[in-house]
Assembly symmetry: C2
Homo-oligomer: 385 residues x 2
């Protein structure tokens, strides 16, 4: 298997982007990535997108994206695994380069969620859950994560203050991210007094509905070395799936799919979590960040909440999590999220994150989740120059 | 890049399967494939599906399929490129094995299209066309292929008899296929007098709406050798994309995307079309089969229609096309079609196709198309024992 490097990243400002179409978003992020990498053509394109069919009445992005990007005839593939579609697009691009099939592989994550109203967006997102056993009966994602939050609180004594502190931390980080949808700080009081969504989750415990895109360019490591500038290598990838329905799991207070995917990625990289300096993880709801901390081994099961309060995962903590602001502050255009996590990791590894630059950023972990922990993809990235 | 073999195929009876769900179909085909290969677990799963979001309100098949197949925690990925999703799933599984990431890679194609009514199915299928420039304005796929048919007739003098003979041939082949949705013969008169759909295309020039699934199992070639029974190797894969909208192509009487993908696959295999014995191609409309014949080089541009009348592509012709019955007779559950083409090719290469077995089946080509020629994936398969 060839060693694979990332030589370009492309992030755009996320938000409610009424003036931009689905294809505009994908092209804008891809062109920024081309600029960053210094290329104007690629050998293959992977598009991560959860549901352009339901959100935009447009499937077949594997044709739309190369077409509008001026890459006619280029091989292209769309991959989907709900909110893990972006991470999966990067994994697929990795395999294409690692196998020797292609040299320049672009992975673009994109989602345009505001072309439909809020109810339709919630309906579309619910298709990431089990239609027969969950969504059809009316449960949506805030409800599913609320069930997990209650289970975690019941099992470990996790508190609403702890769930809220995740939002405070991530918004603080996001306030320094020019691409974030909500680049402002929030207080613990604001979070704890925000509108109730699904008990115990309040508005500020939930990631928003977002339009956005992100892109990364993968090449064999020899190509990266020749550029004489900092780059990142992907040394580990772990992918796992679990039961689509929450009701079919033995325990609701952990995320086994995250544990499996992290273990696989770390094993492939020949590392343990102690070798990792920071992480970008899937905080679709703040309870998810706490459960992911435990699943990837940053803390023991049940210790996630207290560790957040202690500042372990703060920007200046021992194991910073979501320096970008996470899904919470940066936004969550579902198919783009996994790619954006890798953009942030590479940006940190290259030492180019400005105000929110971490002091110690040699090895990163990214974790991107689908559904209520029904799929997870983890990447291990290392700085090289 | 490792050499990759196919050691298992799983086909089920296709049709309007009211009694089976999307997940039933995928699982049934996968289990038949497991039986054929003699395995009960895999390392990775690829699901090819065009639009379970619009047809079944269920995205995230990368979680649903391993879950219901008893393969909990198995890495899985859904790929989509409209009606080429199945072929693309096989290509992705190929890369996973070729790269060394996995050994046992299952590719399942599935589509359950009758959970919605005919109008909604047509709307769903139209999301494979350009939403902004085509579908939104009311054109659907029969209309797009009718435009291409008219252009081909105008340029080359292709006749309605020639378009009709493709259906006669494919239904004759399909009458011997126990998995076909419509396993019966039709006469030239029946085809030419069937209901007009979009001038010049009539009902029997169009493939149907179908529920179905198909699966194949890929492994490194050493694993296949150890089994001491006939198998197939994938020696070439070509993927290409073109403009999503028909109106942005220079010519409407050819399929450049098919030409590019076939050239790439043949080059990778170190072959020309003269080395290929037969093909399974994407006859979503009978004009498509004629245009694909020309694009892959079986005949010169414009000679497809006469060649069909001369019997070149008949079961006993010099270059049989669609021995399975093609999309026309076998049915077209869009995400499953590309995988089923490969099942038929492998079945023929193994000499196990019964009544419709070809005499000369050493090298096969499969061609799977997305949209109105906006994406195409071609595989070259060779018999080994």
């Amino acid at each position: 298997m060839k060693e694979v490097a990332i030589i370009g990243i492309g992030m755009i400002k996320w938000g409610e982007l009424w003036e931009k179409s689905l294809r505009d978003l994908a092209v804008e992020a891809a062109l920024k990535c081309f600029d960053d990498a210094g290329v104007d053509r690629v050998d293959t394109i992977y598009v991560g997108c959860m549901s352009s069919g339901l959100f935009n009445n447009q499937e077949h992005l594997a044709s739309v994206v190369p077409d509008y990007l001026g890459q006619r005839f280029t091989p292209a593939t769309r991959v989907e695994s709900a909110c893990a579609s972006g991470g999966l697009a990067v994994r697929s691009a990795f395999l294409e380069v690692a196998s020797g099939m292609s040299e320049y592989a672009l992975a673009v994550g994109v989602e345009k969620m505001t072309d439909v109203d809020g109810g339709e967006a919630t309906f579309g997102l619910a298709t990431a859950a089990d239609q027969d056993n969950e969504a059809f009966h009316g449960v949506t994602f805030p409800g599913l994560y609320a069930i997990m939050a209650n289970a975690h609180m019941d099992k470990y004594g996790t508190t609403i203050e702890q769930l809220s502190q995740v939002a405070v931390k991530n918004h603080y980080n996001g306030s320094m991210n020019p691409h974030a949808q909500y680049p402002f700080k929030v207080t613990l009081d604001q979070v704890m007094n925000s509108t109730k969504i699904a008990d115990p989750l309040r508005l500020f415990h939930c990631s928003p509905i977002t339009d956005g895109a992100a892109a990364v360019l993968l090449v064999p490591v020899e190509k990266a070395k020749a550029l004489n500038k900092p780059y990142a290598v992907i040394t580990g990838i772990g992918l796992a799936t679990d039961t689509i329905a929450l009701c079919q799991r033995e325990e609701l207070y952990n995320l086994k799919v995250v544990e499996k995917s992290a273990q696989r990625a770390l094993k492939m990289a020949g590392k343990t979590i102690k070798d990792v300096d920071f992480a970008e993880v899937h905080d679709c709801f703040t309870i998810a960040e706490i459960m992911v901390m435990e699943a990837i081994g940053v803390v023991e099961p049940g210790k996630g909440g207290p560790a957040v309060m202690d500042g372990l995962t703060a920007l200046d903590g021992k194991f910073p999590i979501n320096p970008s602001g996470g899904l919470k502050a940066k936004g969550h255009p579902v198919g783009a999220t996994g790619v954006a996590q890798i953009c942030e990791a590479v940006n940190q590894l290259r030492g180019e994150s400005g105000q929110r630059q971490l002091k110690n950023a040699g090895t990163a972990l990214t974790q991107n989740m689908g559904g209520s922990g029904a799929s997870s993809v983890v990447h291990i990235l290392e700085a090289r120059s």
